[in-house]
């Protein structure tokens, strides 16, 4: 075995196995079904609109974290990559949150129509 092959195999062992990847795929599918369930429960009046939005947002964040950590290997790779990704991602999230609060909470823009 050459030293290069050894290095590649070492890297493979650091990453999750195919079984883990498939398991995460199943978890992502379940989380998506729960998100859709949140939407349906809001439609039939079981969930209040705010509650449904919160539940769906949390499930979406969990899916985001799973993909980034395991499929994009941030959990196993150098922290430098995590920093390079998280800083702009956090900045984008902050911009979205700030504008949403500015227009929909402080600005009282709200919906121009009534949802049914």
């Amino acid at each position: 075995m050459t030293s290069e092959t050894h290095e590649v195999e070492h890297d493979i062992h650091d990453h999750p196995t195919n079984r883990t990847y498939i398991l995460i795929g199943i978890v992502l599918t379940v989380l998506t079904l729960l998100e859709i369930g949140g939407y349906v429960l809001e439609e039939n009046g079981t969930f209040a609109p705010g509650t449904a939005a919160l539940v769906i947002s949390v499930l979406s964040a969990a899916k985001f974290i799973l993909v980034v950590m395991f499929y994009m290997h941030l959990k196993f790779d150098s922290r430098v990559f995590t920093g390079v990704f998280l800083f702009p991602a956090a900045l984008a999230t902050l911009a979205i949150a700030a504008l949403f609060v500015l227009y929909h909470v402080l600005g009282q823009q709200g919906n121009t129509y009534k949802l049914i």
Binding site: S3, E4, T5, E7, V8, H10, D11, I12, D14, H15, N18, Y21, I22, G25, L28, T29, T32, E35, I36, G38, Y39, E42, A52, A53, I56, S57, L59, S60, F64, V67, V68, Y71, M72, H73, D77, S78, V80, F81, V84, F85, F87, P88, A89, L91, A92, T93, A95, I96, L99, F100, Y103, H104, Q109, G110, N111, T112, Y113, K114, L115, I116
Partner: protein, 213 residues
């Protein structure tokens, strides 16, 4: 392998390289690109959120009542849920493609890359159908604020998926010809980063646009 030797092998994939950052410069460059893409999609999503619910003329995204008149929502949640599932499954196929290439399984490396691209193309087919349906239902880019922000946001995402499908098919051809093996698996890993990023963006877009009213 010592660090100096690692640095002289451009396609080696060790844990620590003799670069100024100690990490592979190609991956660092690609993560930086992904960071810039976060800001691009951040602005598009922010714009959508700012104008969410601000349209004054139909069609509206969800079932609504305006001045006592009921309007049926234009979004097709079951259809988009299916296309979301397909894009998620393409991410699973992508990690399996990388795994196959890393262990030197050329046939399955190629096959999983083709499957990933096919699932991506299917997602695009759903998007083309959706855009076509919306157009015929009277929703255009200039119809209202929902149309303008929706087509811009999902259109940019669709353009990224299209680029990804072409990227993956090119890689599948290179793997098929034996030009990419375990020693060059970082090429597939970087393509995987792009593809998973496209998936991650949809993970954000799907609830914000379709599920949260």
């Amino acid at each position: 392998m010592d660090h100096a030797a690692a640095a002289t092998l451009p396609d080696a994939h060790p844990d620590h390289l003799d670069t100024s950052t100690g990490v592979d410069s190609r991956k660092l460059a690609f993560w930086t690109f992904i960071g810039s893409e976060c800001l691009l999609f951040g602005t598009l999503i922010a714009t959508y959120m700012v104008y969410k619910g601000a349209s004054r003329v139909p069609p509206y995204p969800h079932d609504t009542v305006v001045n006592g008149q009921a309007y049926e929502g234009i979004l097709d949640i079951p259809l988009t849920s299916l296309s979301t599932f397909i894009l998620l499954m393409s991410s699973v196929a992508m990690v399996l493609a990388l795994s196959a290439v890393q262990r030197g399984d050329r046939a399955w490396g190629r096959n999983w890359l083709i499957i990933t691209a096919a699932l991506g193309a299917t997602f695009l087919g759903f998007q083309v159908y959706e855009f076509n349906h919306f157009y015929h239902a009277g929703l255009k880019l200039s119809t209202n604020l929902f149309g303008a922000t929706f087509f811009t946001l999902t259109g940019f995402h669709g353009a990224h998926v299209t680029a990804g499908v072409i990227y993956l098919l090119t890689l599948a051809l290179l793997v098929h010809r034996g030009r990419i093996g375990p020693e060059k698996s970082i090429t597939v890993e970087i393509a995987g980063l792009y593809w998973h990023f496209v998936d991650v963006i949809w993970i954000v877009i799907f609830p914000l646009v379709y599920l949260i009213r």
